[in-house]
């Protein structure tokens, strides 16, 4: 089924919207302000439903099949969470309602903060950041504010080569200059290197733990001690928290600030790129710097308070992505102490894939992994088959490809994160498919280079897209 662009459809005079009854008179509008309105296409409701239904069928979602994107934690998104977030009392609530009329949402937020604090082992939480990178920004702003409160002006920040890609950009937004720190031959940070790099001009370090190689940063306590001793702070990118719930307390590891991706670890859907939520968790001493407003409780009554003079301020017009929080809260309440099992099974699935594929794909770091494992295309390179070719071919087997070419520290990286919600059967099928693809790389490499074969479109020319950007229908016509 094909389907034209919206702008290629429609006829003037249709309307797919039920226009409310006009029960007041028409009033004149000031002439020189009056516009013409945009020339949107007019379509009937049925045409719109068909348009988007068709579009949806060209998309691969988690409900379509296994989606082992490393570092993205594509776990099953429970349907009951959607139900809760769409309850009219939640979905229809205005953010500036008087507090007495919004106790339910405030209570949910307060308790979600407490639950996240418990899961991470941190002391205080703000739910305001709207995404992971927004949480990182919040963290860097807190670094900045904390140093400023101590009249210290630090300009640098340590970022390992195994950190998430957003980290340097987030740091730069606060005026920090990122210093790249190399991981050691085991794929983790050595305390020695940090001791060498950490100085009095450095605000601290941003660590991803487990790192983007899927490895636990074994020296993190020592590293934190070094950073703290030299007046710095430790930020942990908690995007990979799905590996560690119930196993590790981030607070005890010496982490000062940590963000969580509610849309990864806590099962809220990614929506094709958002909305997510990047809640930020801190230790006691950094609590005063959290974004405002904060949710307070007194005698069972909840309120929003802006009365935190050291706060970094606001990051979001209101309180963050409340709709996402409701889903994460529903997930947390549905799992409870089983969250530990979530992490155990996520790690089990990843290690199982690592073991089963390590003779098929090159495994640069052959050590027990956490929730994901990283291979490369080194073995296939002799046939001039790249990671990209294999990824595209996996689509033909009904799987979403893993994350590719990341982390940068592994050339031609293939980063596989199955998550705990994939069954052994599904994982076995995935392993079998990957082995088949590797066999084809040997025997029929052209087939891989021509992949995918069964998708809506064949391999797309991304270079041309960037060279001559066509960003709207007007551009393109």
């Amino acid at each position: 089924l094909n389907e034209p662009l919206l702008l290629e459809k429609g006829k003037k005079g249709r309307c797919g919207f039920s226009l409310p009854r006009r029960d007041v008179e028409s009033c004149p509008v000031e002439e020189e302000l009056l516009g013409e309105g945009p020339n949107f296409p007019d379509l009937s409701e049925g045409e719109i439903v068909r348009h988007y239904t068709r579009l949806s069928t060209w998309n691969f979602g988690l409900d379509s099949g296994m989606y082992p994107l490393g570092s993205c934690t594509m776990k099953y998104n429970p349907k009951t969470n959607e139900r809760q977030a769409s309850l009219p009392g939640f979905a229809g609530a205005h953010p500036l309602l008087p507090e007495q009329l919004s106790q339910g949402t405030l209570k949910m937020m307060f308790h979600l903060e407490r639950l996240l604090a418990e899961v991470t082992g941190m002391d205080a939480v703000s739910l305001q950041p709207a995404a992971g990178a927004h949480g990182e920004l919040a963290g860097m702003l807190i670094f900045h504010a904390w140093h400023k409160s101590r009249n210290s002006h630090r300009t640098k920040i340590l970022i390992p080569d195994t950190a998430h890609g957003t980290n340097p950009a987030s740091a730069a937004l606060c005026g920090f200059h990122p210093v790249n720190v190399k991981s050691n031959e085991d794929g983790i940070l050595s305390a020695k290197v940090i001791a060498r790099e950490m100085d009095e001009e450095t605000a601290g370090i941003m660590i991803t733990n487990p790192n983007t190689l899927g490895l636990f940063e074994e020296n993190i306590r020592e590293i934190a001690d070094i950073v703290h001793a030299r007046g710095g702070l430790v930020y942990a990118d908690g995007a990979n928290m799905n590996a560690l719930m119930g196993m590790v307390s981030m607070g005890e590891l010496g982490v000062d600030v940590l963000h969580l991706n509610l849309h990864k670890t806590f099962s809220t859907p990614h929506g094709g790129g958002g909305p997510g939520a990047g809640s930020i968790c801190v230790g006691k001493r950094l609590e005063p710097f959290l974004p405002v407003p904060r949710v307070l409780e007194a005698d069972g009554t909840y309120s929003l308070s802006y009365d935190f003079p050291e706060s970094i301020g606001k990051l979001h017009a209101f309180y963050g992505n409340v709709g996402v929080m409701i889903k994460a809260y529903s997930y947390l309440r549905s799992l409870g102490p089983d969250l530990k099992k979530v992490s155990q099974l996520a790690v089990l699935n990843a290690n199982y894939i690592k073991e089963k594929l390590k003779n098929t794909l090159y495994l640069p770091y052959d050590r027990p992994c956490m929730h994901e494992c990283v291979f490369s295309d080194k073995l296939q390179a002799q046939k001039k088959i790249t990671t990209l070719d294999m990824a595209k071919r996996l689509m033909d087997y009904g799987f979403h490809p893993p994350t590719i070419y990341f982390p940068l520290v592994v050339s031609g990286a293939i980063m596989i994160e199955p998550t705990e919600t994939e069954s052994k059967e599904e994982i076995d099928l995935f392993i079998e498919a990957f082995k088949e693809v590797a066999r084809e790389a040997e025997e029929d490499p052209e087939r891989l280079r021509n992949a995918p074969s069964f998708s809506k479109v064949r391999r797309l020319d991304e270079t041309a897209a960037a060279r001559h950007p066509l960003l709207t229908s007007f551009d393109a016509s």
Partner: protein
């Protein structure tokens, strides 16, 4: 637990395959000293049915229509959402997909976002739009940072009639990096006073919001005339995009960047989030623009297709030199708003906008007739300021008990307006609702 597929047998087989004795043994690389010493102290897992009860009672305590009549706007608007949009948006191919890094199996999201970019550019009268940012406030902050990058200047002028919470977000983003912010006062007609602007030589941008926080339509043309030919960028912010169904677009008035909140377009209010940061600009600024972009291209067989493009601006490629750190955005909300805009069409958008306007004018007139003052004379869209009598707080409270929220008290944000209230009227309010409000206000 129904989300976890592993049977005991599965676990045993898989442990065997990886050569571990127990699930705990999988974590052997975590040094003993790094292990959590206590169990997670989380409340017992709820069944789906217990969760329904608990969430139902939390949601049930919130004041929402139709039980309440809420005349609040100020950045979050109650508009009708077609059941068709809600249905489409729930299709899990859209909702459960990741960012479309693999375009061949993500054409649904990609085409929908490409269409969104087209609709937003058309709405705002701009050349191009990105795939969305978090919300209107962060979109404004990103616009100001972009203006600073483009102009290589460190100072920006902000209307004091930009949403007060947006201005707080701007401060959070800009101050640590050392930017200077000049706030422009407002004039007696409830529009930004440009007289104190001074010369533009060191200004990266002038940002105003229209309709502004008092609901008034700013004189965008005047600002466009001011900035035209200068290096200062004109940023038009908004919280209510529906206004552009009726009023002239920012682009047509000379804006360089138009950005704001798209929640009005089919997105539930959800206590303020998720929202939708709409962001559009002129083509020359393309490579300085923050956020993701979807572009059209062709596949190997020459067939049209869509991809994420110009990623070289983004953090995962350019790292600290990226145009922004934004990664996850509001993609599903962008698609929702496109569905909503498509449902209205050009014809419907105009009619709906006019209806919002007319209903608001009706209330304004009825309030004036009942003796209430509307202090600002500037033209408005679906919000306006009314000055209630001294001591109105008690009446406001009594109206709450009657399930009416009579607007937003402005004193908190504008201390010089201790009795100013911002009232919002959308198509969701019937004439009867408006008459009731006036009657209750007259005899609270």
């Amino acid at each position: 637990m129904r989300y976890l597929p592993h049977t005991d047998e599965d676990i045993a087989e898989m442990l065997k395959a990886v050569g571990k004795e127990s699930l705990d043994a999988l974590f052997s690389t975590i040094p003993e000293a790094c292990r959590r010493r206590t169990d997670l102290e989380l409340p017992e897992a709820l069944t789906e049915w217990e969760l329904n009860d608990i969430m139902g009672s939390l949601a049930g305590s919130m004041a929402v229509s139709p039980e309440y009549r809420i005349f609040l706007g100020a950045g979050s608007y109650e508009h009708f959402i077609p059941a068709s949009v809600t249905y489409l948006l729930e299709r899990s191919e859209f909702s459960t997909a990741y960012t479309p890094y693999q375009p061949e199996i993500s054409q649904g999201t990609l085409q929908a976002v490409f269409e969104y970019q087209t609709l937003v550019a058309a709405l705002l009268g701009m050349d191009i739009a990105n795939a969305s940012l978090y919300d209107g406030a962060s979109a404004l902050a990103e616009a100001l940072l972009m203006a600073a990058r483009v102009s290589r200047r460190q100072k920006v002028a902000l209307s004091s009639l930009i949403h007060p919470l947006y201005r707080r977000v701007v401060r959070t983003y800009l101050e640590p990096a050392g930017f200077e912010i000049l706030e422009l006062p407002y004039a007696a007609d409830g529009r930004t006073d440009l007289n104190h602007l001074g010369n533009l030589d060191d200004l990266a941008a002038i940002a105003v919001q229209s309709p502004n926080t008092f609901g008034c339509i700013e004189d965008l043309a005047a600002i466009g005339n001011l900035t035209r030919g200068t290096k200062t960028l004109f940023i038009a912010s908004f919280t209510e995009p529906l206004a552009y169904g009726l009023y002239k677009s920012p682009g047509s008035q000379g804006a360089d960047i138009a950005c704001g909140e798209g929640q009005s377009f089919g997105i539930p209010q959800s206590y303020g989030g998720p929202g939708l940061g709409m962001f559009a600009c002129l083509k020359p600024y393309l490579r300085s623009m923050p956020g993701r972009l979807v572009g059209q291209t062709t596949d190997r067989e020459g067939k049209r297709g869509f991809v994420l493009t110009l990623a070289t601006r983004e953090q995962h490629i350019r790292r600290e030199k990226a145009t922004s750190n934004i990664c996850t955005n509001s993609s599903l909300c962008a698609v929702t708003s496109a569905m909503y805009m498509a449902s209205l069409g050009g014809t419907g958008l105009r009619e709906l906008a006019k209806l919002n306007y007319d209903k608001t004018e009706y209330l304004k007139k009825e309030l004036n007739r009942a003796g209430f003052k509307t202090p600002f004379a500037g033209p408005t869209f679906n919000e306006f300021v009314v000055e209630f009598p001294v001591g109105f707080e008690c009446a406001y409270q009594r109206l709450l008990d009657q399930n009416i929220v009579a607007g937003l008290p402005l004193g908190r944000y504008y201390p010089e307006l201790p009795n100013g209230y911002l009232l919002c009227v959308t198509e969701t309010k019937t004439r009867e609702d408006l008459d009731t409000l006036v009657a209750r206000l007259s005899n609270p």
